[in-house]
Amino acid sequence: MLTFRKMLLILFILTNTCVLAQSNLQAQYDYASKQFNDEKYFDAITEFKRLLFFDSLKQYSFDANKYIAMSYKQGGKFTDAIKYFSLSELGTTNLDSIFDIKIEIVKINLLRRTIYRTFDLLNDLNEDILFKAKKDKITYWKGWAYIFNDDWEKASEEFAKLDINHELKIICDNVSEAQFSKTKAKVLSYILPGAGQFYTGNYISGILSLSWVALWSYIAVEAFLADRIFDGLMVANFLAFRFYNGNVQNAEKFADERNSELTNWGLNYLQNNYRGPKP
């Protein structure tokens, strides 16, 4: 009987020790989560790091690392966020969780504009037979990758694979149609100086380009006609040709500027008005 009582006493002590350690970690997890939910991301990172430090059995490894990563992401520390998402991935064997983490990493790569890395990651996911059932999600994020790569036409094609009337497809089509072709702007300016500027809506610059090239060409031709070949060559090279070249570069620059404005408008619109998943 005495031995039995001793055993019970040991059981009592062990239970309490175990529960106490467990409850401390759980309490710490709850406290850290509260910091995260209250948007106190710096404190959330500290508290989740504390949890990880004392969690010798790594029971909270997945969640704590994930929350740390999300907090870093909120603070714009994308490299740290990727590091902790990767650590989080190591803390789970659940395929859905792994996929979600990989997509989070894709999203961060989008935000930090490492687009080639994003495409690599998405291609890896696409080729992985474990995620065969997740093709739609991969296609969806590939669409976003094209948006961030400023290729709205290809983005539209990706979203069309999901749904021909996908909201993002329509937005991408609108931006794509409104964009200016750099090649077209340059070719127009090659054919008629100033025409590329007219195409991008910069009329004054177009008129100036045309006038300068016309003036220097006229003077060069006049020199050639007067048998002043060297004079003609110098005017043609240092003035007419320079202005002609500048006119082509100018047209390309304007097309770039207008396209940047449209891209920014598109991204701004998506940020404020699109309700679906975003990076």
Binding site: F4, L11, L20, S23, L25, Y31, T46, R50, F53, V235
Partner: protein, 288 residues
């Protein structure tokens, strides 16, 4: 027996609820705070590490913890807080000498070389041989950063070890005799012979191009006026004047750019030498 089990379970559940709802979590007790702060310090998460150490009551913090707090603040660039804490470290503490070096390093990083010198001189007579030697090295190199009078070569290099002397001597010579170019001379040269100023500053290709273009346009202007093609004469004159003026201004700018590059490269060389030497501060063994 049943009573005992019930007591055990209720005690366990009580403990659990206590931990969730109150601040008695053992993870936030002093020893665990120190362990966690040490971990953060070694992980180079200095701001969090300092914050954790600061959670411990001031009266319960030892000199080592205070030193690590100051070191954390110094590393993240909060020099003012770091200096305040370093200054509070007691003269009898084993960290006193290191604190002095760290304060000198901060003065150096803040480019307050005069204060660095004064601080070094006040501690010269203290019984801190290692720290004084390291301090003197940093103090000597601060002369190369400052515009004040630089000591004579023998005095300047005497604090340095044999393996450091060559590099320090090279830096000293570069500071004393920088291969600068005079912008005024460059401009005058270009005014006399277009492009000569640029050749003087090392932009040889640019100099030759300027000479040729200015010469050709001047000749064309002369030739067109001579042939009574006045419009082209004025046109080429304008171009010649433009190139000639640009060449004088360009030579002046080229000399300035050359000098700025010399200064930048010197500072880069000096900074990387000092960083490589860790500001002559011995490595700490906090994370072994």
């Amino acid at each position: 027996m049943i009573k005992l089990i019930l007591i055990s379970l209720s005690a366990a559940s009580f403990t659990y609820s206590q931990n969730i709802n109150s601040g008695v979590n053992v993870l936030h007790q002093k020893e665990n705070i120190i362990k966690f702060a040490d971990y953060l310090f070694c992980e180079k998460d200095y701001l969090r590490s300092a914050n954790e150490y600061l959670r411990i009551d001031e009266g319960l913090r030892d000199e080592k913890i205070n030193f690590k707090i100051a070191l954390s603040f110094s590393t993240i660039g909060d020099y003012s807080t770091a200096k305040n804490i370093f200054r509070q470290i007691n003269e009898s503490s084993p960290y006193y000498g290191s604190s002095r070096l760290e304060i000198m390093k901060i003065f150096f990083l803040e480019e307050r070389y005069h204060e660095l010198g004064e601080y070094f001189r006040t501690g010269r007579n203290l019984n801190l041989s290692t720290e004084n030697t390291s301090g003197e090295k940093l103090y000597s190199l601060s002369f190369l950063k400052d515009q004040q009078t630089i000591p004579a070569f023998e005095n300047f290099v005497k604090a340095f070890d044999a393996d450091e002397k060559n590099e320090v001597a090279a830096l000293y010579q570069l500071k004393m005799n920088p291969p600068n170019k005079n912008p005024l001379i460059a401009s005058v040269l270009s005014a006399i012979i277009p492009g000569a100023g640029k050749i003087y500053t090392g932009d040889i290709g640019d100099g030759i191009f300027t000479f040729l273009t200015t010469g050709v346009f001047t000749f064309l202007a002369y030739d067109n006026f001579k042939a009574e093609h006045n419009f082209r004469g004025w046109l080429f004159s304008g171009l010649a004047v433009m190139f000639y003026g640009g060449n004088i201004y360009g030579s002046f700018a080229s000399a300035q750019i050359h000098n700025a590059r010399i200064k930048y490269e010197f500072n880069l060389q000096l900074d990387s030498f000092i960083k490589l030497k860790n500001y002559f501060i011995p490595q700490y063994d906090f994370c072994k």
